[in-house]
């Protein structure tokens, strides 16, 4: 857990380093999310000040993009593809299994804080559908069984 003061220091360092880039807001938000796992609401005033934007503008950008989140994610974020190619190869049944196995719906985090589940609309792995991503690791031709194996390999009992 990041201490609030550390969090503010991280945000400050990132905004100072990147604020002079043309179109700096997305690079700043990416750097914050890379460092903290999310973009905390408390970071918005500092970002707004550094870029001479209103807090509403910064919040508007964070909320526009599916990738940015303002809540702490689980230890592992699972992105499950919902797009057509994956549907053609049993993606919907896999989705049911994943939700039942984790006991959560999309955009939720398991009660023990281990897994977050997010939908994604194509991972570019359509030749090996259905596809998912855990962290930065990509998986192809995922079945209920191989999903369970992948979950077990994270070392977190689910």
């Amino acid at each position: 857990m990041t201490e609030p003061s550390n969090m503010q220091a991280t945000v400050q360092n990132i905004t100072t380093a990147l604020k002079d880039k043309p179109g700096a807001l997305l690079p700043i938000l990416h750097a914050i999310q890379d460092a903290l796992g999310y973009v905390p609401a408390e970071s918005v005033p500092a970002i707004a000040k550094a870029l001479n934007l209103s807090r509403a503008e910064v919040h508007g950008v964070i909320s526009f993009y599916h990738y940015f989140r303002d809540t702490k994610p689980g230890k592992h974020t699972i992105h499950l593809c919902r797009a057509e190619s994956c549907q053609a190869m049993g993606g919907k049944q896999l989705e049911k299994h994943v939700k039942a196995r984790l006991g959560i719906d999309f955009h939720e985090t398991t009660a023990d804080g281990k897994f977050s589940l997010e939908p994604v609309y194509c991972l570019g792995n359509c030749a090996c559908s259905p596809a998912m991503q855990i962290g930065e690791e990509i998986y192809g031709r995922v079945s209920a069984n191989s999903f369970d194996t992948a979950i077990n390999e994270t070392g977190e009992p689910a």
């Binding site: 179109g23 057509e84 570019g124 030749a127 930065e136």
Partner: protein, 517 residues
């Protein structure tokens, strides 16, 4: 003599275990005291064979696949490092039908070379296009691209040379080249394969574009879902700077071009060029009104070329071999080649680069081998989530922009997703509306409200409620989206919806096609 073994680093190959295979090969070679050079190449694009391991022999590269970590010891036992016989042996890679029948221009190097090795790139015709371009006046570079007949491979198929010419002729202190690498269309992965498998070809293409129009700064707007592409691009860009292929003085010419990768954040709409520019400027990805065209007033209000990865990656071969060489491939007004992506319920999924003019049927059956499930292919969506669904009766349509437009379909970015006969097309139509609702930027009403209403309407239709009222209402709504939306997201969502309704009315509870109309 050391043996060269290739294991792809393409993310699809990795998703099937290529990293484990590479590690197992290294370990087994060490155990057996065999000296090997392990190269992580791009993928050949034959994904049913991935992880595809290749070994360099005197006869050429020999392929084995699909290889799993557990097969590695057996492969060494079979002396695969000398091309030995094994039940996974596929023979010489280049002789495999799937590859041999293709016309690979843009993908010429992919799968053969180490993607981030600049030496490999230079030894395989790399930077020949740039070296020609450095000796040409700007108008001649643009002319070569215009003469080639290259049209935007992102989907809109706008002539690339005309776009470049507009930027060239718009005076400005600062101009930009943007590579649209936000490959959000489901069923497509050719951009990813280029960026992971041959990043220098994109860098070279963008550099040539910069020289042609007088732009000194380029941005690659890359989707965040592609971490491996990001890594390959960043490594390649760094090496290109070190070797003087990027920077203030490209190869001693005194001409400058700088390049930076910027990440998207999971918004499909940012693949639309004006929304992409808003995003690059650090804003919500709201679509802009056109005019002004980006070529006149684009990024930060400056003249900007926005091209797709494949368009830009096709430029080096055009500048190397000439516009005529490229134009001689293809049919009608669709010149050159299109890297098609075979996905979904297909036995042999992969990347098939072909001159325009082959039929969809050849692609699905000669290359794809039919469905993966063994059931009949019932519907094929071509051109991403905004592309029409085609029934079997349209499979003989040639892959050509105009031929597809004539049957109210689109070729788009060349994604082909097949479905077998278990598909429910009303559910697919519902999904298209839902997708549009999730991804709409919200600027225009038809798309923002229409997509949500469309999904609700499809829920009713799926439950067979008020059919006499709801089917005409769906058509009316699609008409509003089609004609009233600001960009292609709202404007083309009716393609999958109405094509599903028109070609598969039975899935919508309509018995005969006449009543569907």
């Amino acid at each position: 003599m050391s043996i060269t073994i290739y294991v792809p680093c393409d993310s699809s190959a990795i998703s099937l275990g290529a990293n484990g295979v590479a590690a197992a090969i290294a370990k087994e070679a060490e155990k057996r005291n065999i000296e090997i050079e392990l190269i992580r190449n791009g993928s050949r694009g034959m994904f049913w064979l991935e992880p595809l391991v290749e070994v360099a022999t005197e006869q050429g590269r020999v392929a084995y696949g699909p290889v799993h970590s557990g097969d590695v010891s057996g492969l060494f036992d079979a002396d695969f490092i000398q091309g030995g016989a094994h039940n996974l042996a596929l023979g010489l890679t280049e002789e495999l039908d799937y590859l041999k029948k293709q016309q690979r221009l843009t993908f010429a190097r992919i799968g053969k070379t180490d993607p981030v090795s600049l030496d490999d790139y230079l030894n395989n015709d790399g930077y020949r296009g740039l070296s020609n371009a450095l000796n040409l006046p700007q108008t001649d570079i643009v002319k070569a691209v215009t003469d080639s007949g290259l049209r935007g491979r992102g989907g809109a198929a706008f002539p690339t040379g005309i776009k470049w010419n507009t930027v060239l002729n718009t005076p400005s202190e600062q101009k930009y080249i943007i590579c649209n690498a936000d490959e959000g269309d489901s069923g497509t992965f050719s951009d990813r394969m280029v960026m992971e498998g041959d990043p220098y070809v994109l860098i070279e293409g963008m550099t040539i574009a910069g020289l042609a129009v007088g732009a000194t700064q380029g941005y690659i707007y890359l989707r965040v879902e592609y971490p491996h592409a990001r890594e390959a691009l960043q490594t390649a860009i760094e090496k290109a700077y070190q070797a003087g292929y990027l920077g203030d003085d490209i190869q001693g010419s005194g001409k400058a071009f700088h390049l930076e990768v910027r990440l998207g954040a999971g918004a499909y709409i940012c693949g639309e060029e004006t929304s992409l520019m808003e995003s690059l400027e650090g804003k919500r990805g709201l679509v802009r009104f056109k005019p002004p065209l980006p070529a006149i007033s684009g990024l930060f209000g400056k003249p900007t070329v926005v091209n797709n990865v494949i368009s830009l990656a096709s430029v080096p071969v055009i500048l190397d071999k000439g516009g005529d060489y490229y134009r001689d491939f293809g049919m009608g007004r669709s010149r050159g080649t299109l890297p098609l992506q075979l996905a979904g319920n297909i036995k042999r999924t992969g990347l098939v680069e072909l001159a325009f003019g082959a039929t969809l049927r050849e692609l699905l059956y000669d290359f794809g081998g039919g469905s993966a499930s063994g059931r009949p292919i019932r519907a094929v969506q071509v051109g991403g989530p905004l592309g029409a669904y085609l029934p079997e009766s349209q499979f003989d349509t040639p892959l050509d922009y105009e031929a597809f437009a004539a049957i109210w379909a689109v070729l788009g970015h060349g994604g082909v997703v097949a479905f077998d006969d278990t598909v429910d097309m009303a559910e697919m139509a519902r999904y298209s509306m839902e997708f549009c609702a999730i991804e709409s930027c919200g600027k225009c009403t038809p798309c923002r409200i229409g997509s949500t209403r469309g999904a609700e309407l499809m829920d009713d239709i799926i439950k067979r409620r008020d059919m006499n009222k709801n089917i005409p209402l769906l058509r009316d709504l699609c008409n509003t989206l089609l004609n009233g939306s600001l960009c292609a997201l709202g404007g083309m969502t009716p393609y999958p919806v109405l094509s599903a309704l028109n070609h598969f009315p039975e899935d919508f509870g309509i018995d005969d096609k006449a009543n569907a109309a």
